[in-house]
Symmetry: C3
Subunit: 138 residues, 3 copies
């Protein structure tokens, strides 16, 4: 069994932002030389998400608006977590979107359905962020 790890660093200038990381994950897989296995991609921050969906800007606007309805950022005082911090909503939003994805690796490629793309979703950004790619297989 082979294993391969890559920590990806991203600049996230906005508080909330979706970044298509599919090319970086595909590159990590190429470097791993793993042909058959599983590829885990997870946020390393607990206010961020890794998820799979469509790369369509209208949908991403819908996600932003929908998450604000389900777990609004303000007023900050509505959350007990917000004493020294102001990011409780980010913890809740990331819970909806999920921490991680596991993708099948077949024939050296990410084995996707037709529209699947991997995104890093940040909900408390404005700084440098990290995510983990871990691949195991042969």
């Amino acid at each position: 069994m082979k294993s391969f790890k890559k920590v990806l660093e991203l600049d996230v200038p906005a508080r909330r932002q979706f970044i298509n990381i599919t090319p970086s994950v595909a590159e990590a897989l190429r470097k791993s030389k793993i042909k058959e296995g599983l590829c885990l991609v997870n946020a390393m921050h607990i206010t961020a998400s890794v998820f799979i969906n469509d790369d369509e800007s209208g949908l991403h606007d819908d996600f932003e608006e929908w998450l604000e309805t389900l777990a609004p950022e303000k007023p900050y005082s509505q959350y007990r977590h917000n004493g020294y911090e102001d990011n409780a909503d980010a913890h809740l939003k990331r819970t909806i979107m999920g921490r991680e994805v596991v993708v099948a690796v077949t024939d050296g490629k990410l084995d996707f359905g037709p529209w699947e793309q991997i995104f890093y979703g940040e909900f408390d950004g404005k700084r440098r962020k990290r995510l983990m790619i871990k691949i195991i297989g042969e």
Copy 2:
């Protein structure tokens, strides 16, 4: 290490539908001859879900009603994704229900808790759909 892949095709006549796929996943595992490992099952469509819960029709009705409250199908115009499409709500519903499950494989069997069953949840059906089973182990 062994790996095994099976793409499952399903007819989904309704727009929204839950289908118990546990027997098909168990059959794929038998064919794989893998005794110890991990089994990934994921929707290949981004408006669909694979999730684990109870096979109880009242609960499935509750899921349907609850998801319509959290991410209503109509009016279509409330979503920016709905220009040429009408399925933005399906992308949101699938996000709540999740894209994938990973199940432990022990002694050649899906290693479940007492009531765990795997479902394919479709939110934009009325056509043939596909899901991925990928098993790795020994």
Copy 3:
């Protein structure tokens, strides 16, 4: 390839409760002697969750309040699942929080971001509960 399985038993006196299980998962990993691989941790009950987030009591209170808003426990009669049972809300809450996490194993350790901790989240407790740890790798 090595594989290791451990079923963890927990007493859960309250109906809803979050329990930090990171030390138990880390101990299972040590026993497994696996240095590189993937570690699956999942609830074995369909009214419970395993998730990763911050070990901060204010945030846990926020989760409790937020989940009650999204999927209220009462009135029990609002859910079709609640004939002989009263736990439909627990099935919905667990869906938001997720059934499982997959964590990278690197150098014999759970390969976490700085604040990641693993929690068992129970939404229909008051009895003994079980969760699964399955580790594969080398």
